[in-house]
């Protein structure tokens, strides 16, 4: 595999920008399932599988599904973050398969966040 130079780092940053910052990409929604040890122990795999099934069953093309490590609030896992392009990201907590399904229907497809399961909207500060 090719050895990188500094210009390549910048090129990668540009090309990946669309997935890390939705505004610059093609996806309409980005879903991040938090899968640190805490999330996995609490049941994040069920949440992830539910989302994969929903995406497949509904033949959805414009949703980016990814995972990340621990989001910090370990006692409230399983957690996911839903970011609809043009809106603030919403963090959902204490999820299971059924709640995840409902969030996919109502928020991802329907555009309306499920306030009962939502913890917060917005992103953390990196100074």
């Amino acid at each position: 595999m090719a050895k990188l130079r500094i210009e390549d780092l910048k090129k990668i940053k540009e090309s990946v920008k669309g997935t890390v910052n939705l505004r610059d990409g093609n996806a309409r929604v980005k879903i991040t399932v938090h899968m640190g040890t805490c999330g996995i122990a609490a049941g994040a795999r069920v949440v992830m599988n539910t989302l994969l099934k929903e995406i497949e069953a509904r033949q959805v093309q414009d949703v980016l599904l990814t995972s990340s490590g621990c989001a910090g609030l370990c006692s409230h896992e399983p957690m996911i973050t839903i970011e609809v392009s043009g809106e603030a990201p919403v963090k959902y907590t204490k999820l299971d398969g059924d709640k995840t399904k409902r969030i996919f229907e109502e928020h991802v497809q329907g555009g309306k966040p499920v306030t009962e399961y939502a913890l917060s909207m917005g992103s953390e500060t990196t100074h």
Partner: protein
């Protein structure tokens, strides 16, 4: 007297806005304001996210309360000219926030998030650790590029020194100084090592960084290697972290594929490679010299210092061993500058600290706060306070080497000066909140059980001393304490602290010493009154209902799983000790604390 400005400009530093360039806008603003000589009139600061992520980079101007959106550095000179100098609202960037309150709280309104400042954990929740491209997209490996291509080793060391970064593994030794010693040492090859053993029970700061952002560690080690003149690094990771090992392995493989590890990194001419070494379950192998013995294939036991590892470490060669969190701060210190880092925290304890906040607190999780944050803020604002309407009793900091800080000292700031003044140590970041149902003798016993078991046995004070202290504490918790036990514990503790070979023994008595300092009355009650006020030490419990406190509600009888409690409506409850299995369900059920 505090300075008054005529205008405050607050720029959002939430992740979305930062990704869209809000920090570049901030820098451009600061420059332009300086050029126009307005620094004494206009104050520029960053704030947390208020949810309008689609409009970022976002700026709110006070006292007008005007929102400006989608600013770029190019817009700044015009903006400063129009708004700050001529006082005219810049219509092009005007933003009208939606009227009416959103039912979902803003992240900046939630105490758990709003008090945190992410430096070591800057990528948390945002990247897939198995995709190196996502790390690069968030300015990954730019610190490495700068260090390898533009800086001499001495410059790197100077930058780390002026940042004020102190070791995050617990000892708080200035990182720049450690690197300076190793850089100046004679011997080859030199080694750059990472302590990812994280043995403290209840601590998971390092695990989180390893699982969620392994490249931050890799970058930190590459930069450290250049600083001291090493080309080989080892990460000593405990085998009990399988997910961390998996993610680290993937990260190292991907870095090697991209040539970010290996020969001639980024065309700089500098080589660095990193390999993993797995621990085998010994707490003592988290001690630097024992760790190095373990890598050499020997039994992990510490050795006397001097010589210090910076001069004679792994295989007797100059080595630097730093903690995971320490390394995770390095890439940003190099990329953004030491001045940025030292601006966070306090004068002597710069930067942030990651804590694993656990115990009797509502928001259990991983937090990163600026040094100097009071414990009170951490427990109540970040942690959300004590659940089940209980009251705070103490906060245990520093794991088995640390100590208990009592409730009345809750305003103590967390930094390397204030915490040791209470008798505890900062430690690697374990923070256990304890409510009034906690028995402090039991806490000391719990930690001594751990350290006595983990003592390697090489030196007598630790090997014999910890077992002796444990034996005394066990007797006390069983109601078999002797009058002279407290004095014996104190004497033993002082000897063990003063004469143990390594940090394990030197700090093992700390939980005993701090609980004696602040909760001596509990020890005395256990010994003389045979009473455990927290109702935790079972041998001291009588399983007897106090007729003066019992409100005759019958809850205990209803909850008892073996029907051992006799109760009629409005009558005193009575526990039949022949049937009672001592399960303590009745203690937890009674709302009036009536069972002794």
């Amino acid at each position: 007297m505090e300075k008054t400005y005529r205008t405050h400009l607050l720029l959002c530093a939430g992740t979305s806005c930062v990704a869209s360039g809000s920090l570049e806008v901030r820098d451009a603003l600061v420059d332009e304001i300086k050029k126009r000589e307005l620094e004494d009139e206009v104050y520029v600061a960053t704030t947390g996210c208020n949810g309008f992520c689609a409009a970022g980079p976002l700026l709110v101007a006070y006292p007008d309360g005007i929102f400006y959106q989608k600013l770029t550095p190019k817009d700044v000179p015009y903006f400063v000219e129009e708004y700050l100098v001529k006082g005219r609202v810049v219509k092009k960037h005007l933003f009208e926030p939606k009227k009416g309150s959103d039912p979902i709280p803003k992240i900046s309104d939630i105490g758990f998030f709003s008090h945190q400042v992410l430096v070591a954990l800057r990528n948390r929740g945002l990247i897939d650790p198995d995709k190196i491209d996502e790390y690069i997209a968030r300015d990954g490996y730019l610190g490495t590029a700068k260090a390898l291509m533009e800086m001499e080793p001495q410059q790197i060391i100077d930058e780390v020194l002026s940042s004020g970064l102190r070791g995050r593994g617990g000892a708080g030794f200035p990182t720049g100084l450690k690197w300076k010693f190793a850089a100046g040492a004679t011997g080859s090859p030199k080694y750059i090592l990472c302590n990812a053993d994280e043995g403290d029970p209840g601590a998971f700061m390092d695990r989180s960084i390893l699982e969620s952002d392994p490249h931050a560690l890799i970058e930190g080690m590459i930069i450290g290697a250049k600083a001291i003149g090493a080309h080989q690094g080892y990460i000593y990771v405990r085998a009990e972290y399988p997910l961390a090992i998996e993610r680290l392995t993937t990260a190292i493989d991907q870095a090697r594929e991209y040539g970010l590890l290996g020969k001639d990194i980024l065309g700089s001419g500098y080589d660095v490679d990193i390999d993993l070494y797995f621990g085998a379950g010994a707490f003592v192998c988290g001690e630097e010299t024992a760790l190095m013995q373990s890598i050499e294939g020997k039994r992990g036991m510490p050795r006397p210092r001097p010589p210090f590892p910076a001069h004679k470490g792994l295989w007797d060669k100059p080595s630097v061993l730093n903690n995971v969190e320490t390394y995770a701060n390095i890439p940003q210190i190099i990329h953004r500058g030491s001045k940025w880092f030292s601006g966070i925290g306090t004068e002597k304890s710069t930067g942030t600290k990651v804590f694993a906040l656990t115990g009797n607190v509502k928001n259990i999780g991983l937090i990163e706060v600026p040094m100097g944050t009071p414990l009170r803020t951490i427990v109540y604002d970040v942690g959300g306070g004590i659940p089940n309407k209980k009251k705070l009793k103490a906060v245990q900091v520093g794991g088995p080497s640390g100590g208990c800080i009592p409730e009345y000292l809750i305003d103590t700031p967390v930094d390397f000066e204030s915490i040791p003044a209470t008798g505890a140590i900062m430690g690697s970041g374990g923070m256990v909140v304890m409510d009034t149902d906690t028995c402090m003798v039991d806490v000391a016993k719990f930690f001594l059980e751990f350290t006595a078991e983990e003592s390697c046995g090489k030196c007598t004070p630790c090997r014999e001393g910890t077992s002796q202290m444990l034996e005394i504490l066990t007797r006390i918790s069983e109601g078999k304490g002797h009058a002279e036990d407290i004095d014996t514990l104190e004497k033993l503790a002082k000897v063990i602290c003063a004469s143990s070979l390594c940090g394990l023994g030197q700090t093992a008595p700390n939980p005993v010493l701090t609980t004696l300092r602040y909760f001596r009355h509990e020890y005395e009650e256990h010994i003389h009154d045979k009473r455990c006020r927290a109702k935790s030490c079972k041998p001291l419990l009588k399983f007897w209902v106090d007729p003066e406190k019992c409100k005759r509600c019958g809850l205990c009888a209803k909850k008892c799983p073996v029907d051992a409690i006799k109760w009629e409506k409005k009558e005193l409850a009575e526990i039949n000790l022949d049937i009672c299995t001592r399960c303590m369900t009745c203690y937890r059920a009674c709302p009036f604390d009536a069972i002794e």
